[in-house]
Symmetry: D2
Subunit: 283 residues, 4 copies
């Protein structure tokens, strides 16, 4: 499925500032970038960083005090999604996990799985099938946490959300990840562009490692799971911020869009796809 | 400097259990393993995992219920340490940081630097030299936090320690890392064997990235900085646990030793080495 | 119902120390003290304090460094309990609450009801009858929180317990209070002697203000509700500690007992008393 | 000194709602109300509550859905202040404290003194004079916490502020109280009208019990200490909210004023009054 994605970030820069911008679609076997343009106004030399730690494409730029910075990105991306019969999926025991998956078992800044293990076992421990366990987690979050724009901030973590019961997509994702890890299911943060998200914005959800692959889950139910274009994965939002800014600045707004270029888009959600799991950007 | 290190871990295993054991000395340009032996009783097939994420050597093993497990490791290691005149050291701005260092700017499970930035700027922001800034952080921790065995647990984080003012080496390290990152100084967790640590145990401290290299700091002042043999680095203890155990078990004790094999050991500490910084396992 | 209660506290005192001891049975219209003795060894002048703030009888004593202090209390108490048909009980709206009940609507040190309101409304908001709402709260706590001796400490609060899901009687009481207050139901902490508590100890539970009276609830289900002899009420454990000690000391143990002096004790619990509520020390 | 104080609160009421309003000047031996008017528009019957728990005058009113409520208060108050030579002040040991003062030694919702004792002893334990100890606390808060309007909310507590280092008058007061109690100095919350506060608003600060009287301290340094008219005392803001509202509503703004009616007002602050302490509303 082809998507045309675009985003624009505007900042007023009040001191010499370095920005790490993470808005490019990821290049991966399951996601082909057909064309892309990245523009900075005024013109500033940029640098693309690739980390061995996580899947992402950071752009780094250095900006002078007094700059009115405008960053825009546009791309046409062919994002594959793989539909799997969930009845064939089994948990991968720790002993069989690939070494690169193991870090996603451990707690991270916003996903304090070590503090949630008793709760997770009490709520979800009785479900034997791993895929159904993760589905039960996302259903629980959907039913018990209110999606309220502006209710949380960049310091809010899963430990807060489990009690405060309000949040935005980022908080829903962190809570899902923390509960999975508390049950020894590897889970990682996902940021991306999302088709049919309303209002349009960057989106966050999470992937759980089941049956040897990363499957996508979204406890917000705000968008179809096959309408996602991946920007980055990470342990949590600390690894995959849209923008990390070292300096003083004012944000002048963000615009995001994601359009399907094919006519035959059939939305896939956990609600309409009984027994079916989905891996994004997978082949 | 050559060290003979050894450790022994004993567990009673009450359910089918997978263990990730992280007690091997790291292989690195600055640390040569002259000989090492690793034994499991009863005999169980083990597997060595190398992660692209962090510097460490995890051993994974799967153990049956009812096992009385004994894990022992012994090695002779030649650990180099590089002494640097701190007056030549300068902060590396974010724009010049290597991509693999950048993740160590971000908050992690036990090092919530995002919550400590106002405090860090108020306490240490006035110090212009980056090395002296980190030294001021470790001096502050030494003076303001009591080292009390058993006062904290595996959930204790820098955010707790900054207020509770008690902890063990792990907590001292986490607080140092969090304060550095809050000031945009990359910092990472360090675990290792430590010569002259009393009582003998695994040790934790931290490294800060200054002048293009990772320098070692230890706010506990419990051991000389040139008596360290590195096991692992990570963002914090979540990445570098001595043992991550998936299953039910009882611990039957840990013994650790670290002996210098050369006669000419001259202890290096920040207190006795004015103007001198030190990088462990560096050449 | 007559009970013979007794308790003994022993301390080694390492500095000049003031103790506030709160182990006397409360005098109230519903609880008559038939006889009581209070002994301190070595002999020290004591003083009984009555607070206008809360219902309790604090004993204050000042002890010299080096004292081996032994405090013992023994009493025969006639404790009335009033059984009420819960179908007649209605919520008292804030506008009709007595001024002295209103403080028990507000959050306190260990009962952060202000942080739990969304959660409380989501879990219990749909239950219209106020008595059934509180019963649902204590059932939820009983089912979702594990009673584990030694799992918590004097700093543990309802905000911790709602997530950590382990605790002792004090924590069960704090969580019950916090959830009631979050739903605008006045609730207060209760400490006392408890018949058939095993192992014998001081007990804590809570009272909710329903239908114009304080009814007793105990989410631990560890003892019959008509076997309670009241020591004190307060907003939470900060108001009703067994002992508040200002100085350095070592505790040498606590022994507590509570014996029914009548033969016809019929245990009352929420499980065996359908449609029945109970007010302790009430007439 | 005579002050003319006034305040006005406006609310849109969206459901049947009960309000507890705490804006009346307190009647006390040291504070005489010469005249006062209290108006509600539209006219609603009100009730004045006096609590035995705390010093305050709550007004309770019940309002129908759809009301545009306007509450206004105006008074002329003669507020005495007593200036004391601090060199004559001594700490009152726990053994000599009045029973009604003792509750102000214990932790409360927003003043978790039990979590701050190590920190408090490390920072202030070396100061032997109790008055100077409290002055050191307020100086420390003034120097280490930034006053930032809107930086905190109704859930923010002293435990947050000690680390986050930003807050408003309420947070400065809570932190002062918590640090005093951690050092066994009774301390209570104070709300009132404040002359020369800019911008005009209700003000919060705290009182510490020293030398047998409640002395006033204000770590914000925003207003003279002899320009305060007391509304209420309490353990913390949970006891002394300006408005506690049970129902759904929108706030349409608050206006507050405080004018000195005498010409000879000489501002008293800790900075300009060396060796002098002050008790507000005292004779």
């Amino acid at each position: 499925m082809k998507f045309e994605i675009a985003s624009e970030l505007a900042y007023e820069i009040h001191s010499p500032t370095t920005l790490l911008i993470n808005i490019h679609a990821l290049r991966s076997p399951g996601q082909t970038i057909i064309e892309e343009t990245f523009n900075i106004e005024p013109y500033i030399r940029i640098e693309e960083l690739t980390s061995i730690h996580y899947e992402n494409r950071f752009i780094r730029l250095e900006v002078e005090e007094g700059t009115n910075l405008n960053i825009s990105y546009k791309a046409i991306v062919d994002a594959s999604h793989k539909i799997i019969d969930q009845r064939e999926l089994e948990a991968v025991p720790v002993v069989a996990l690939d070494g690169n998956v193991i870090p996603f078992l451990f707690p991270s800044r916003y996903c304090q799985s070590d503090k949630l293990s008793t709760l997770a076992y009490k709520e979800f421990g009785h479900i034997s099938n791993v895929y159904e366990k993760v589905l039960a987690i996302v259903d629980w979050i959907y039913e018990n946490v209110d999606y309220v724009s502006g209710s949380t901030n960049s310091q809010t973590s899963a430990y807060d959300t489990i009690t405060e019961r309000t949040g935005v997509c980022r908080d829903f994702a962190h809570l899902g990840i923390a509960l999975c890890r508390a049950l020894t299911i590897p889970a990682r943060y996902f940021t991306g562009y999302s088709y049919k998200l309303n209002p349009p914005d960057f989106h966050a959800c999470f992937e759980a490692y089941i049956g040897g692959q990363w499957l996508i889950f979204d406890a917000t139910r705000l968008a179809p799971l096959n309408g996602l274009v991946k920007i980055a994965n990470g342990r949590d939002a600390a690894d995959a911020s849209i923008a990390s800014i070292f300096g003083r600045y004012t944000s002048n707004g963000i615009t995001v869009s994601c359009r399907a270029l094919d006519d035959n888009f059939v939305p896939f959600t956990h609600e309409n796809a009984y027994h079916k799991a989905i891996a994004v950007n997978a082949i």
